[in-house]
Structures are given as structure tokens and as C-alpha cells.
């Protein structure tokens, strides 16, 4: 079975359309979406309507959660004061633009989705706001996959796609018992993988192209896809809709609107 996993569309309708056509040409049997349908981009309602009309199973993203519950992010979501100010502008704009039924739909989205040995989350199994960066400590990364009780953990939120194999899943535990020496127990976890789907609508890999992931459940093959789209249209809409023009400038360069926290050891506290 061929799966397509998309994430972080961020109100970018043009990018979503291009990715859906690309998925079509690759004949995926099932699409999963890891959330962040809204936020930053100019077409949050249209994006939600399209995802709903295609019945795409979707997890709740950090932006979707914030639109439902109000700004609620850990300070790590905004690595700079400037990013925070811009994030708040985008939040206020989206909050005004979003239709009531779209907000209701976002509120119903689950934190996690599962299919057999696969688990789908937005940020991490702990929180929509936690970043699983590729540089994260291997032990902590493995802990996240194990806590999801999956072999493959699909996530988004960092906006940079990657595949990480945690093959040395050896956990050593030292046990000290009264009256006895120290004994060492070793557990070997089978190969676990983290697959980050990147971002459809707000890529931050230095090019404007949308990214997503194809996964073959039979061969376990992961394919990172990069799809060009007419980003100039989205840029024009950003300006037309009164969103900060700097978003358009950054989108055209594949630069994040708000850089993510760069401390891979950071644990989200909200």
C-alpha cells in the first residue's frame, strides 16, 4: 500500500493543489495529513475545505490548536522577539479570517493517528508544539517513537523533511540490588524510524518548493518529494490579504517565517 503524508500547509492553497496533483501521479492509496492547515498563509478556509472534501485523515497541528484554544505556545515556538510579533500578527489575522465551521472542524482533530505499526503526529507524541529535530539526542528520539508504540513515527512541524533511522536501539539499564553487585540489563529495540514530512505550504529548506513524503508499507521505502508550484500566486495573495509582506518575501526564498527553536534538547513547557 502506498501512503502519501503531508504536513504544514499553512493556508497555502496553491501549494496544496500542486502536491495533491503530484500525489495523484504517484497513485497513492491513502493520504495522511499531520496538521497545521491554518496559520501564516492567506487561504486557511479553502485549505480546510479541500482537505475535508477529500476525507484526508488529519492530526491537529500547533497552529490548528492555537486557533481553537487561543495562543498557547511554549516560548520555544518563537526563537526571536521579531518572530513572536509576526506570529501574533498571523494568528490575529487567521483568527479573524477563519469561518466558524472551520474552527469547529479544527477542534475535532485528533492528536494522533495510527495505521498498523505506523503512528502519525504533528510535532511529537508529547505535544503538537514539540520539535523532533534531526539533531535531537538519539536516546530521546527513540523514546518518542517507543512512546508512540510504533515502528515508524511520522511527524511534521519542523518544516524540513528528513528520515532518521534509529538502528542502534540498545538501551542499557543498571540495576543495583541490596546485597548483590550491580547487574546490567540490555534491551535491544528493533529498527525504528522517524519520518518528517516537511511542509507543503511553508517550506524552510532554502527553496520555495513544497515537500511531502511517500511511504510504501510493503517495502518500507520512504521517498521525500519536492514539488514546485506557483508560489508567486501565494505571495500576491499574502500581500492582497493584508498579511505582513515579509511573509511573501520569505516564502519565495524557502525561508521560515519564524525560525524554530534551535536547541534540540529543549522540552516544550506549556
Amino acid at each position: 500500500m502506498k501512503l502519501a503524508v503531508i504536513s504544514c500547509i499553512h493556508g497555502n492553497y496553491e501549494a496544496l493543489n500542486a502536491v495533491l496533483s503530484d500525489i495523484d501521479t504517484h497513485r497513492a492509496d491513502q493520504i495522511y495529513c499531520l496538521g497545521d492547515l491554518a496559520g501564516y498563509g492567506p487561504h486557511p478556509n479553502a485549505v480546510v475545505e479541500l482537505v475535508r472534501s477529500l476525507d484526508i485523515p488529519t492530526c491537529q497541528g500547533c497552529w490548528d490548536e492555537d486557533i481553537v484554544e487561543g495562543l498557547n505556545a511554549c516560548e520555544c515556538s518563537y526563537p526571536s522577539q521579531l518572530a513572536e510579533k509576526r506570529g501574533h500578527l498571523a494568528h490575529e489575522w487567521t483568527n479573524r479570517a477563519i469561518h466558524p465551521e472551520v474552527r469547529k472542524y479544527l477542534a475535532t482533530l485528533p492528536m494522533t493517528l495510527r495505521q498498523d505499526n505506523l503512528c502519525f503526529v504533528h510535532g511529537s507524541p508529547n505535544s503538537q508544539h514539540e520539535y523532533l529535530l534531526p539533531s535531537m539526542d538519539g536516546f530521546a528520539a527513540l523514546e518518542r517513537v517507543l512512546s508512540a508504540e510504533a515502528d515508524v513515527l511520522f511527524c511534521g512541524h519542523t518544516h524540513v523533511p528528513y528520515l532518521r533511522e534509529l538502528d542502534n536501539g540498545t538501551l542499557s539499564v543498571k540495576v543495583q540490588q541490596p546485597g548483590q553487585g550491580e547487574t546490567q540489563h540490555q534491551f535491544t529495540a528493533p529498527l525504528k524510524r522517524i519520518v518528517n514530512a516537511g511542509s507543503v505550504g511553508e517550506p524552510r529548506h532554502g527553496r520555495p518548493n513544497a515537500t511531502y513524503v511517500l511511504y510504501d508499507t510493503d517495502s518500507a521505502q520512504v521517498t521525500l518529494r519536492e514539488v514546485p508550484y506557483d508560489y508567486a500566486k501565494t505571495c500576491a495573495a499574502i500581500i492582497e490579504q493584508g498579511l505582513p509582506p515579509i511573509f511573501a518575501w520569505r516564502l519565495a526564498r524557502g525561508m521560515e517565517f519564524a525560525e524554530r527553536a534551535d536547541d534540540p534538547g529543549h522540552v516544550c513547557e506549556r
Binding site: 526563537p79 526571536s80 522577539q81 521579531l82 518572530a83 510579533k85 509582506p245 515579509i246 526564498r253 525560525e259
Partner: protein, 244 residues
């Protein structure tokens, strides 16, 4: 007799760098003048911070200073690209004229004007008749959130608010230190130099800081707003100061 030297050349060619090599000498009185930008001159401020023994002369005091120069004085006039090379003021002083020019520039008004041509940075020579505009603003008292400042500099020099060929700035950071930042289009990277000043760890610094942006189609308001959004509030600043 005091010695007058006027230095000209395109933006980013290395005029200030060329002058700086002589300012290290403390044996004779030295004066530095950078006309045309009033009180908000990054070069004036930076020379003043870097070479405290050099007398930096703002335009308003120029007449008084010139009238009362010691005999062994050397006066450097940094003659910006936006100033008239045929200025009667310069001619009247009997200046030595030095042009700091990109090595591949072989013919220009600077060549005709100069007594001496010095090879400077390989910056693009300005397109004829299309001189860039200069926008500057003092930032004295502003203390920047460091990651925001980084984003801001990347965006401004990257062309987010108009095409920029040069950026100079003196910025205060919450650790009490001040940095000089220099960007020249076409040269790799951005230069950050910590200014040798005592750290300012109580309240907002009252010493000069500011920014000077040279380019075309500059969106001055958007730059100003981004500068404002990147500055720390009183509360955030005092929180930082408690840390240091």
C-alpha cells in the same frame, strides 16, 4: 601647516579602512571628518569608538575646528559617493586627493579627480546616473534582541525592503556590548566587530548607536518598523541585566 587629505570612492570600496591604518598613529593630532550625513554618521561614531585619540568632527563644529588647527594636524575628509567631487570647499583647502576604487574600475570621475588611486574592494561600480539613496537613523537607547537583530540584518541585506548595496550599523546588545556591523554587496558575509567600549549594564545606553542603509527603492518605514519590533522592552532589558 596642517595636512588635509580627502578620500573618495564608491560605497563599500574601503575608504574608512584605508583611513583607519593611519589613525592608529597617536604621535600627531589627527582629525576625522565625514561630511554630508549630519550627526548620524556611522563612520564618525565608529572612528570615535575605535580611536578615542582621534578627534571626530561633526559638521556643525567643522568651521570652528578648522579655524583652530594645530600645525602638525592631519585632517581626513571621508568624501562619500553622494558628495560633489568639484566642491569649492575641498578645492579651497588644498587637499591631497585619494580615490579608493575597485581594481577593475579604470575610468571614472574619481580617476580624474584624484592625485592618487588606491586599489580597494572589488565592489560593483555604481551604474551611471543611478546613484543609490542613503537612509540612516539613530538608534541610541535601543537594545536589540540578538536573534531578532540577526533576522533583521539578513532580511535588510537580502533585499526584503529594497535593494541594499551597503549597510553599516552600531547596535547595542543586552549583554552591554556594542557591535559594529558592516555589509557590502558583493563581498562575502557580514562583518561583526565588537567595539572596545565598557559594557553598559544599567538601563538604556546613552552613547550613540544607529544604522545607515544605502541602496535603491528602500522601504524606509518597513525597515524602521522592523528595527522597532526587534528592540527590547524595558522589562525584557532589565531581566537581561539581572542575568549579567
Amino acid at each position: 601647516m596642517p595636512h588635509f587629505i580627502a578620500i573618495s570612492g564608491p560605497s563599500g570600496s574601503g575608504k574608512t579602512t584605508w583611513i583607519s591604518q593611519f589613525l592608529k598613529d597617536q604621535s600627531t593630532p589627527q582629525f576625522y571628518v565625514c561630511p554630508g550625513l549630519g550627526e548620524i554618521s556611522m563612520d564618525l561614531a565608529r572612528i570615535g569608538y575605535r580611536f578615542p585619540w582621534v578627534q571626530v568632527v561633526a559638521e556643525a563644529q567643522l568651521r570652528a575646528v578648522l579655524a583652530d588647527l594645530p600645525d602638525q594636524a592631519t585632517v581626513y575628509f571621508e568624501w562619500g559617493f553622494h558628495l560633489d567631487l568639484g566642491s569649492p570647499f575641498l578645492a579651497g583647502l588644498g587637499c591631497e586627493r585619494v580615490a579608493v576604487l575597485p581594481p577593475d574600475l579604470t575610468e571614472s570621475d574619481w580617476h580624474t579627480w584624484a592625485d592618487r588611486v588606491v586599489a580597494g574592494n572589488a565592489v560593483a561600480a555604481p551604474a551611471n546616473g543611478h546613484l543609490p539613496e542613503v537612509w540612516c537613523t539613530p538608534l541610541t537607547g535601543q537594545v536589540f534582541d540578538p536573534p531578532s537583530l540577526e533576522v533583521l540584518l539578513l532580511e535588510v541585506t537580502g533585499g526584503a525592503y529594497g535593494q541594499v548595496c551597503r549597510l553599516k550599523g552600531i547596535f547595542e546588545l543586552p549583554n552591554g556590548r556594542a557591535f559594529y556591523v558592516d555589509f557590502v554587496e558583493g563581498l562575502p558575509g557580514m562583518e561583526y566587530t565588537e567595539l572596545n567600549l565598557p559594557p553598559w549594564l544599567a538601563g538604556r545606553p546613552s552613547r550613540f548607536s544607529g544604522i545607515e542603509v544605502t541602496g535603491w527603492g528602500l522601504e524606509q518605514q518597513a525597515i524602521a518598523q522592523t528595527l522597532l519590533d526587534s528592540g527590547l522592552s524595558d522589562a525584557a532589558l532589565s531581566q537581561y541585566h539581572q542575568h549579567f
